[in-house]
């Protein structure tokens, strides 16, 4: 049976809740309304109001309470109604949760999850990709799945993880991705996967951009015969550089693609690591494709221009190959 990306996430959470009584879901409208995207449909009936907790609109207090619960051995899954709203909880996430183990030797096992990303005409406050804001915060793990199977497998691992995990779901994929998903296979955090094999250049990406990259790879192959290897990072922290290096050893050309804004985005970190560690293996400069450096605009022509598309990847890939 096939299920959607969002159903896969819901299934992972409910399976873990059944398996482990310390897991709970907390957030705005997650109970009787089942969440803004209906991820927790039926959860309240199955698990009751002590484990499916509707909260006031207070992201800082929600994360704060969840930290307290985690300190006591619970494993809260915190829903940000939209991941943009995590800005209101930035202090709790970065100063309390992320530094907890380091300062107090106290585990803070929690997942903060929410719909991120654009392409749904959500405007500046319902479309952002926030990973870059947290990549510079030691103590956090950051997950960004592209497929339904990964979303489920990575959520299982995230809930079981003893560190705070930021789980970035791409809302554009919620109902567009549908596939057969293994019933209960946890996918370890920190392992990238090769989505398409190729020997001419490497595209490193994650989240919704995996599909833009795959589409671009097919087009390039048709047009030029060059074969792109597409790597889906799946987890941004910890970052699986080994899979990236292995590919670049073969292709000697690399481009980095993400939906987060260009400046200060994760591609900067990847490019720096490649140039520091892998300069000798590169035959061309590392190129980047990302969202433009503006807030996420609302109107379709504006958002479409702002977001990276396969056409932009094709364009940059030709430059990369011609270098």
């Amino acid at each position: 049976m096939t299920i959607t990306y969002i159903e896969a996430i819901g299934e992972a959470i409910s399976q873990e809740m059944e398996r482990d009584p310390s897991v709970l879901l907390i957030g705005e409208d997650v109970g009787h309304y089942a969440g803004a995207f209906k991820l927790s449909k039926g959860f309240l009936e199955s698990f009751g109001p002590d484990r499916i907790i509707d909260t006031p609109i207070a992201e800082s207090a929600i994360v704060g309470h969840a930290i307290g619960m985690a300190y006591m051995g619970m494993r809260p899954v915190v829903e940000m109604q939209f991941i943009d709203f995590i800005a209101c909880a930035y202090n709790m996430v970065t100063n309390f949760a992320a530094k907890s183990r380091y300062r107090q030797g106290l585990a803070c096992p929690m997942v903060i999850r929410g719909p991120s990303g654009g392409g749904v005409r959500g405007g500046p406050f319902h479309s952002q990709n926030v990973e870059a804001c947290f990549l510079n915060v030691p103590g956090l793990k950051i997950v960004a799945p592209a497929t339904a199977a990964d979303a489920k497998g990575l959520m299982l691992s995230s809930i079981r993880d003893d560190d705070p995990v930021l789980f970035l779901e791409h809302k554009y994929l919620y109902r567009r991705i549908k596939e057969v998903v293994p019933s209960n296979e946890a996918i370890p955090l920190g392992q990238a996967i090769v989505r398409r094999e190729g020997s001419d250049f490497t595209i490193v990406t994650y989240g919704a951009m995996v599909f833009e990259a795959l589409e671009a790879a097919e087009q390039i192959a048709t047009e030029t015969g060059a074969q792109a290897e597409v790597i889906d990072l799946r987890t941004l922290a910890p970052l699986d550089m080994e899979t990236v290096y292995q590919s670049v050893r073969k292709t000697n050309r690399c481009m980095l693609v993400h939906e987060a804004c260009l400046t200060g985005g994760p591609s900067g970190e990847l490019a720096a690591r490649l140039s520091e560690e892998f300069f000798d293996w590169l035959d061309a400069p590392i190129l980047r494709v990302a969202a433009l450096d503006s807030p996420v605009p609302y109107s379709p022509p504006l958002e479409d221009y702002f977001l990276p598309k396969s056409v932009d990847i094709v364009f940059q890939a030709k430059r990369l190959l011609a270098y």
Binding site: P56, G68, M69, G73, N91, Y102, L106
Partner: protein
């Protein structure tokens, strides 16, 4: 000038705390002595650190709660085993009452390897999960939702705890004060929040923080019980906290206690507090919480003056071992800087980017 604090001068006739007759419930001799001993211990530990600070042995700042020991000790004494406390910088007394040994405090302030954070964090930023103490962060108000969450979780786990934490008159302006107390109320969390109204937030007087004269008046806005108490009367603080804990523990929801006191030093040791009117300091120095209880114990014949003097000297002398232990403790190994960030790496590894050292 802190208007509210002028009103609390003895004899001005507008003293709102204590309002409740229950706050005057007589305590046992043993309890009164324990309150006294813990307040003296706290004062002496901080005085010892003042010496270390002047000797240049404290790394960074020193934050004292002098004059507020009645609150930190009085509240913590009212707690039970299994309760949770989230102290702030002026609540060292609460940590001591819960069982933190003075050597931990000395080591922590001198950034030594034997300190509870091994040199990773400073001043009173440490907790002890076994003792039910959780460490604050510098961002004020953040402890409120966290301690509420801990207490809520513990109750779900079949216990009957109270989570008690503190905020200052300044910290009460932070968003987490509002979010935390509001959400604690909606969760019916067994939270007791102590607002230590000491007149000043760093250099800013209380009336520049809030146009609501008393913090206790905010309690009804959150649908929680509010109480106001003379923070320099440790016995009244103890009684108020007991009542608050009974209320929260019995499932009636959070309690806000405003404890009125005064900050007798600067914000930290570097701060001469020249912005505080002298008259105010002078008036409050006559209301020192240790002096108040000492006078009562002597006047009411619980102990003689000589016995009290001996007790205070004994408490000071007993700190010697801990203080010497801390001075002899090593600074931490540099590799401890990188370990413990994630569950997978408890032990720090040498970083190739520091190979040039």
């Amino acid at each position: 000038m802190a208007k509210a604090h002028e009103k609390l001068f003895p004899g001005t006739g507008d003293r709102r705390a204590p309002q409740l007759t229950e706050l005057n419930t007589p305590l046992s001799k043993a309890m009164r002595l324990r309150l006294f001993e813990w307040m003296v211990t706290t004062r002496k530990v901080e005085a010892r650190m003042g010496t270390l600070y002047r000797q240049g042995k404290v790394v960074g700042g020193l934050y004292r709660g002098e004059g507020q020991e009645g609150i930190s000790v009085g509240t913590a004494m009212a707690l039970q085993d299994g309760d949770i406390v989230g102290p702030m910088i002026r609540d060292l007394g609460a940590m001591m009452v819960r069982g933190v040994p003075p050597r931990d405090v000395f080591c922590q302030y001198m950034a030594r390897a034997d300190g509870p954070t091994g040199g990773r964090d400073c001043n009173t930023h440490f907790g002890d999960h076994e003792l039910g103490i959780t460490a604050p962060i510098s961002m004020l108000g953040a402890l409120i939702p966290v301690v509420s969450g801990m207490a809520w979780a513990s109750r779900q786990q079949g216990n009957n705890p109270v989570g008690l934490t503190y905020i200052g008159d300044g910290g009460a302006s932070c968003g987490d004060f509002h979010e935390g107390l509001n959400m604690a109320a909606t969760l019916n969390s067994p939270l007791v929040l102590i607002v230590e109204n000491n007149g000043y937030a760093y250099s800013t007087p209380v009336q520049a923080q809030s146009q609501v004269e008393w913090f206790v008046d905010r309690a009804p806005a959150y649908g929680v019980l509010g109480m106001q108490v003379d923070g320099n009367d440790a016995e009244a603080v103890y009684n108020a906290t007991k009542l608050a804990c009974d209320h929260a523990r019995s499932g009636k929801g959070p309690v806000l206690i405003e404890a009125i006191t005064f900050r007798m030093n600067g914000h930290a040791e570097h701060d001469d507090a020249s912005y505080v009117p002298e008259a105010l300091v002078k008036a409050w120095s006559k209301r020192d919480p240790i002096d108040i209880l000492r006078d009562r114990l002597i006047d009411e014949g619980v102990k003689s003056k000589r016995q009290i003097d001996n007790l205070e000297q004994k408490i000071f002398d007993q700190l010697k071992d801990d203080y010497e232990f801390a001075l002899a403790s090593d600074m931490p190994d540099a590799l401890y800087a990188t370990g413990g960030v994630y569950s997978e790496d408890d032990i720090g590894q040498p970083d190739p980017r520091r190979a040039g050292r």
